[in-house]
Symmetry: C2
Subunit: 450 residues, 2 copies
């Protein structure tokens, strides 16, 4: 009999990754207890300043489809086929994500989480415990001390395996940090983010192209907007804490209005409650968290608890869901929790390090390069190279977003492509000749693509 059968598993965190993991494990025969610090999100209204929409891409879809809710979620999500780039002069240009019409999907975190909770409630072996948090874990005995938050009462529960799916500020990881030789780092970039809104038109329509991810790249900072099914857009301003301009300088409604009018002239008129939102919504920090090992005996970290990353590649949730896929395969090929967790962490760690790096790189690309003519030309040439040599040239964005190749392979391949494209872009007359296939094939031969 498989070791998972009748195993008792504790999962801390009832967010996206904790619930998906619960489903996977319940269907492998485990008895699952999920402990969530907060109240049931379906019963209480909350907005804690975390991004309320997400971009689902291939890695996320694979995980959702494997548990049979892909179609259901697709119905409540909005496809985005490319980046819509808003220049400071008001002009807009569109850069498709792929030559084949591939897309990513804007979906509400709340709706997705609620769906996963619903599914879990239909599983006979899963119990949900809200407003209960991890105090500490004794790794040697796989025993968690849990606190019932409304009463403060604490109790201990022993399990066959424990998972920390409790996010970037994981309590399970805090316990692990006290064990010897635990590698750990938390780093914050110099930018914060703030969520703002673009309202629906009076007729109920979308104020911008609904099938694009909108970007207002402005060098050292940027704003983005993703569509919601109620015809609004959620905007996120990624902006420095200090300097000029920065969150430190936008101190009054007048300054905010003035700054947005000048900097985001086409968006400003669509943001009817800008000043109110700006001062009501939190200015939230952007940590990157790395640690190792993820596993101590039969306790392991998963999702943001193991690898908190910045949101700039849209891969935070997708990476967490892929953790579940990788763990599930490791379990299927192992004889014990310890073996499965060891296989999982070893195979997964280099890839989550890679996506952390790629996410930081993509911030530079999005806020800075995306508005330069040379960058836009490079993207077009890359897409043409992909058309000509579909086996030889897969753009980095596609490798991350539209494939299941390991992130570490995408990172390495992206570095190689960078090297090659620097040579290509230095070719004489490239800006006028690139649409001439004969010319481009000659260059591809020269730089070793074919």
């Amino acid at each position: 009999m498989k070791f998972t059968n009748s195993s008792h598993v504790i999962i801390f965190g009832g967010g996206l990754v904790g619930t998906l993991l619960g489903l996977y494990l319940a269907r492998k025969g485990c008895k699952v207890d999920i402990y969530e610090r907060r109240a049931d999100m379906r019963k209480v209204q909350r907005f804690d300043g975390r991004s309320i929409n997400l971009a689902l891409s291939d890695r996320g879809w694979r995980a959702l489809q494997s548990i049979g809710i892909g179609d259901e979620i697709k119905e409540i999500s909005i496809p985005m086929y490319g980046r819509s780039i808003h220049n400071v002069d008001g002009t807009v240009s569109f850069l498709p994500y792929s030559k084949d019409g591939l897309c990513i999907y804007s979906v509400s975190r709340g709706t997705l989480n609620a769906k996963l909770l619903e599914l879990l409630e239909n599983e006979p072996n899963v119990a949900f415990h809200f407003e209960q948090k991890c105090v500490k874990v004794d790794f040697a005995t796989t025993t968690a001390t849990i606190q019932h938050m409304p009463t403060g009462e604490q109790f201990a529960v022993k399990a066959d395996a424990i998972f920390g799916a409790d996010g970037a500020f994981s309590a399970v990881r805090a316990s692990m940090q006290k064990t010897d030789r635990f590698e750990y780092q938390q780093h914050y970039i110099d930018h914060a983010y703030k969520e703002l809104n673009i309202e629906a038109l009076p007729d109920g329509g979308f104020a911008l192209d609904k099938n694009a991810l909108h970007i207002w790249p402005r060098g050292h900072y940027m704003m983005i907007a993703l569509p919601n099914i109620d015809s609004t857009f959620t905007c996120t301003l990624f902006f420095p804490y200090e300097g000029d301009p920065s969150f430190a300088t936008l101190t009054t409604p007048e300054k905010v209005d003035d700054f947005f009018s000048k900097t985001f002239p086409d968006a400003r008129p669509l943001m009817h409650h800008l000043e109110e939102d700006f001062f009501a919504n939190p200015t939230a920090s952007l940590p990157t968290i790395k640690c190792y090992p993820w596993t101590r005996n039969a306790t392991s970290l998963i999702g943001d608890a193991a690898h908190g990353i910045t949101p700039f590649f849209g891969q935070g949730m997708n990476a967490g869901f892929e953790d579940c896929t990788v763990l599930s395969e490791a379990i299927d090929n192992s004889e014990s929790w310890q073996e499965a967790l060891e296989v999982y962490q070893r195979s997964r760690k280099p890839n989550t390090d890679a996506i952390a790096e790629l996410a930081l790189q993509n911030f530079i690309e999005m806020r800075d390069l995306v508005s330069s003519p040379a960058f836009i030309l490079r993207k077009k040439i890359e897409m043409r190279l992909q058309t000509l040599f579909p086996e030889k040239w897969i753009p980095l964005y596609s490798q991350v977003t539209f494939s299941k190749e390991p992130y570490s392979k995408a990172l390495a391949s992206g570095q190689e492509q960078d090297r090659i494209m620097q040579i290509v872009m230095a070719e004489e007359d490239i800006e006028n000749q690139w649409q001439n296939d004969e010319y481009l094939i000659k260059i591809a031969q020269k730089v070793g693509i074919i």
Copy 2:
């Protein structure tokens, strides 16, 4: 009136840095409460696996002299004038630390700590609280929650300033880690250390030269020995956790004996309880800890709590003591705790980052390079350069150990010296000609030393 006068200050940690800081602050008119997790070390025997002797050098002496206990400590310490290098063939060579007979001092951690405690007890404004630990700190109100460990009872104390001098695994820092935008990393090298002993001779004498720091460099690992006033030596083996040889392979008394006999042939016969010590003493890890900020409002970290470093430059305690010197000057030139702590952390952080880096570099030098003829030649040439151009050439070791120059300046200057010495060592016939001053002066001109 100076803000420190009648300020109430809490210090967590009654180790070397906590007690020294307590003395500094008491003498500035503060009312000081020191809370120490452990029992009074003077009343209980303990050995917790931490190094029981230390190398005091200039930065440490300056701090001790400024509070008037320099001479007293010097009496119970042993000067070491250089490195005594023990080769695997049993030969020994001596490398002086400086051309002028400067030395570092081997001193017992316990004795030094007890002396500092005694001094503190003579201060009317200082109270000591043993077996009481920091649970958490509320930085906004400068209020600490403290637990009396024998009873488990918790209570809160508000202060004008709070210091975390509670070591590499600081509880004050753990509280700080939960605040937003706290940069933090802990990293462990692949080596552990284990303390061993060389006994005194039957006649009560030292079994090795008492005025040297002994090193058995063996490439990927090493053993060192420092003299104690009872004519013993404390040996420390720095050795990999994994691989062959490593702590993982030395699993039986026979294997330990065999390994030491072959690897440290001159030391082995002097270690009468080797096998017993080897399995009784802990295998201890070697963390490097970096964080920033050190200060939240009127709470600050100091010593290992702010910057845990590896012991390879003998600067852990010296750096912690220098923190006190820098903080003391910052207080004298400021109008409030907040201002003083801000000045202190800003000026100190680049220097503790530098000594962390220098310590890791020195591990490579000690275990690996110190036994190569080219390295020994280089040291000799550097000393000759210093004699010829005392203003222009101060070896890195001297800048760190025998000066009060900022560590960051020493690090930068060491990198420049590395670059220059690579050129010098590549000169034709350097190994035969370096004692010819005319030749050496010509080279010094060529590489820009003069």
